[in-house]
Symmetry: C2
């Protein structure tokens, strides 16, 4: 019934991720994406409504794959495993890891906000992560969840491991083996509940 496509949405998404990973958001121009897949710029617009759309789709694909790894571990009450799971995930696909871990989503949409359905999917992913952190904290501790404890959990499980990875993602060198031990020692030494609130509470790390 129709002509077969030479370039899929995934082709364009992968090219966009690689370009951002290598040269920053500004390097992912429509023409650069087209050049990378070897097609004309017009073909991108058969799959995506705009540049924001393809960047948002790329973000949802990349960040989504990370969410898919972390959320089940968090809901299972395994924060330490979740933190360590960042390492193999980053090793799987360096372009994807640089794209997701080295760029704030807001920086990708300086010019124009992504179209509504993609923006909603972004929000859904972020909400899923937040709920998973909350569930993990709730399981570890006991009572109501305080904002401070949520911030603490996000730091220990997500932001701190990323901070450990960042210097090695910024350089060309691979992630050294001691990164895993640094994460492990962090979780062994720093409690999830704050010191002022910790009396008689189950210890997480």
């Amino acid at each position: 019934m129709v002509r077969t496509a030479r370039f899929s949405a995934e082709h364009f998404i992968d090219a966009a991720i690689a370009l951002v990973a290598e040269g920053g958001p500004g390097a992912a121009t429509m023409q650069a994406i087209a050049r990378r897949v070897g097609g004309p710029t017009g073909s991108i617009y058969h799959r995506f409504a705009s540049r924001s759309a393809i960047l948002a789709a790329a973000w949802n694909a990349g960040y989504g794959s990370l969410v898919q790894v972390l959320v089940p571990l968090l809901h299972a009450g395994r924060p330490r495993e979740a933190a360590l799971a960042l390492l193999p995930w980053a090793g799987e696909d360096r372009h994807r890891a640089r794209f997701v871990l080295l760029h704030e989503p807001v920086a990708l949409f300086e010019d124009a906000p992504p179209p509504e359905p993609l923006r909603q999917e972004m929000e859904r992913l972020e909400t899923g992560m937040d709920e998973a952190f909350g569930a993990c904290i709730g399981r570890v501790g006991g009572g109501a969840i305080r904002e401070e404890d949520l911030a603490r959990a996000k730091f220990l499980i997500f932001d701190a491991p990323i901070a450990i990875l960042r210097p090695h993602l910024l350089s060309e060198n691979p992630v050294p083996s001691f990164a895993g031990q640094m994460i492990a020692e962090l979780h062994a030494g720093v409690p999830f509940a704050s010191a002022s609130h910790r009396a008689g509470t189950t210890q997480a790390a």
Copy 2:
């Protein structure tokens, strides 16, 4: 002898920092900088050779002010104080803090590298920080400095505190009071020397 300048280099630098802080690197166009100070674009080129030049000068000013706070504390062998010093520094000037802590320098120079003298000043600042970390580690421990221990120190003193600040810099809300305690607990619970190398060594945190 000459006409008095209405716009100084600092005016343009401050505008560039504020624009990047508010809207990302892409928002700091030459025209946006000129508009913000209320002058013509041409005047910027009387102070700076190019866009990369003003961005590099802005980076050196912002990061330089942070280096000026941290390096003396590191050379004095006070890593904990250095880590905590990030908080008042960030509170002093939110635009500057967002500019320096939320953007990798490499992301500011996607298009063109900064002119040589400014690039050298950037390198000088980075080298100064590296030497200070090394001196601090050397003082804390005893023997030769291992790469792993340097990475560990940079994480505990610099990258981890930034990771604690980042979510609050990204939002509009002020940095909460518990940020300081998180840094303190991090330094209380995680050693500077790795576990495998720690036997009989002075504890830093």
